[in-house]
């Protein structure tokens, strides 16, 4: 999957994204580098505020600016550095080459236009179809994402659809121009488990059919374990661990990853008196510690950890990386 193909589809290097606030600049993404290969699914995991969503949005240059700003770094997609493209060039790319689906389909869809209107717009713009061709194409797409009676549904408004249906419409819109890369930001978080299972199944099936790569941004390690080839774990704006799924779940090396995996209640296991926890909480992004950002919550902390932030050391052979001076053996 990943190692076999030498040319990455997307290559992010030393990306830094800052937001200016009343209290000073906040670094939401701090020196993040990663590659995405063709046909690969990579999960970006982490808790609220770790920078996973901002990373996803930055790939499509969707962060509001101001207050957001790409301070440094490059995003190379099919040979082009996206950070240097004009807004007009980006518009041609969004939806056509790179698409995104969002957590809350009700806010991502326009409530005053029918599903059909919104889909036809995209198809006409990117594919240059006529209105009636675009309508046929939109109906075919709705059918592919598993919407029953697409001929009828296409003329409905978003509020007439259930949550799962709305997310399917979002997926149909995102895939309608055959993108090479799909960024899915918490695509099933707002859905119920049974609907989540339906939608994830559909996304994975379509990814295969459309021959595209996917970045799955989520806090749900269960979803990552089941759908991704590789995962990137973020904490306080930085990547702290990256590994193939099997390695990450079976042998996590960063103490944070390990703690996170242990603190999830597992349905298969016996009821414990107490769950293992990670003590404390995520530091304030405005007042980050000098050294490792996880130091105050870490059981393996030493003086070294508090002096300088550990860099992400990646093994060139396995692609496995961890940013820790004292990783779990």
């Amino acid at each position: 999957m990943s190692a076999a193909d030498p040319t990455p589809l997307l290559s992010v290097k030393d990306l830094v994204v800052e937001f200016s606030t009343r209290y000073g600049p906040v670094r939401a993404v701090d020196n993040v580098s990663f590659d995405i290969y063709p046909n690969e699914t990579v999960g970006i995991v982490g808790e609220s505020g770790c920078g996973k969503t901002v990373t996803g949005l930055t790939l499509l240059r969707l962060i509001p600016s101001p207050p957001g700003r790409i301070v440094q770094g490059s995003i190379t997609f099919q040979g082009k550095d996206l950070t240097r493209l004009s807004e007009k060039q980006m518009q041609a790319l969004r939806g056509a080459e790179i698409s995104m689906i969002f957590q809350e389909p009700m806010t991502a869809l326009n409530p005053v236009f029918t599903v059909g209107n919104q889909m036809i717009d995209i198809l006409r713009r990117h594919k240059g179809l006529t209105r009636s061709q675009a309508r046929q194409e939109a109906i075919a797409m709705l059918d592919r994402v598993g919407i029953p009676v697409p001929k009828k549904r296409i003329d409905e408004y978003p509020h007439q659809l259930s949550g799962g249906m709305r997310q399917r419409v979002m997926i149909a819109m995102a895939l309608s121009c055959d993108p090479k890369l799909l960024v899915a930001d918490e695509p099933t978080t707002a859905l119920d488990v049974t609907t989540q299972a339906q939608v994830m199944e559909q996304i994975v099936k379509l990814q295969d059919e459309f021959d595209m790569s996917m970045i799955l941004v989520t806090h749900d390690l269960g979803v990552v374990a089941e759908s991704c080839d590789r995962a990137i774990v973020m904490y306080c704006g930085s990547i702290i661990e990256t590994a193939a799924i099997g390695d990450l779940f079976e042998r996590p090396r960063h103490p944070y990853t390990k703690g996170l995996l242990q603190s999830i209640p597992r349905i298969r296991e016996e009821k414990l008196a107490q769950l293992p926890i990670i003590p404390g909480m995520v530091p304030d992004l405005l007042h980050l510690p000098d050294g490792c950002r996880f130091a105050d919550r870490c059981s393996r902390v030493t003086d070294e950890c508090r002096r300088a932030k550990p860099p992400l050391e990646t093994d060139p052979l396995t692609g496995r990386g961890v940013a820790c001076y004292h990783p779990v053996p």
Binding site: V193, T194, A197, D220, E226, E250, P265, I267
Partner: protein, 330 residues
Amino acid sequence: MSAGRDDALLRVDGLKTYFPVRGGVLLTAKSQCKAVDDVSLHIGQAETLGLVGESGCGKSTLGKTLVRLIKPTEGNILFDGVDIGRLSERQLKPHRRQIQMIFQDPADSLNSRHTIGNILEEPFIIHGIGDSAERSRKVADLLDIVGLPAAAAERFPFEFSGGQRQRIGIARAIALNPKLVICDEPVSALDVSIQSQILNLLLDLQERLGLSYLFIAHDLAVVKHVSDRIAIMYLGRIMETGGADEVYERPKHPYTRALISAIPEPVPGGRRQRQILEGDVPSPIDPPSGCPFQTRCPHAEPQCREQRPALRPVRAKTGEEHEVACHFDL
């Protein structure tokens, strides 16, 4: 662990909570939304009953009805032998302190203009307990119990993180030494690493104070972790109930099976063979005839459309109680 139905702390029989659905120019009631439709359950002393279901199944309405934030349409809520479902507000007041509630979003359920001290003192003022000095002492004790510094009393809710706010919500709920706490999705809004801290706090408090919980959540893994018994709810009705391990290991209802199979597990190795339900949950305003689950059930027979299955006991391996509302033995 599980107390019998008769000596339970809380016993609910045939509870119905219907909301009028208004329409037309005069907003007259056109039909009813059957949010809670004929629910019976019981919770014993120091026991946790987990209530699981998807959005709109009526689990939160059931919780709110039990603390009488909503008046039931029909049925009994026997708490410590008193039917609190029928009491007037005035009669209810002495009983209110016995049943408290923790809400999902601690940011919404704390008054943003009050200090934490004010928020935690309020239950004592309402129930006329202690003088000012004694109340401050009690507030300090509460903060200590939930693991917050005493200085927190001077601060406002926005100064706290989600996990800390939920600790404040818990402190408020246990202030009056209740016997039963209704926890409505208490950890759903929290991050994984904070979620486990709050779950541990709830388990710890249960042990120290002998609390009973009704733990409402959509996450079956979390519910199974904290509960002695669980009840699965769908479209206002209980579909299956029994010991937590029993229901999880030997689910009898097709809905319970689908729910368990849909949980994404943090175990790599691809998706398991999964039973994916078709379609969406029907509207509780116009529920299907017969079994509420028949429109999505892979085993549905003509009988399911005509006859509504009642909860009936099934033989559990461990001899625990286990009931299912399905015509068939699956």
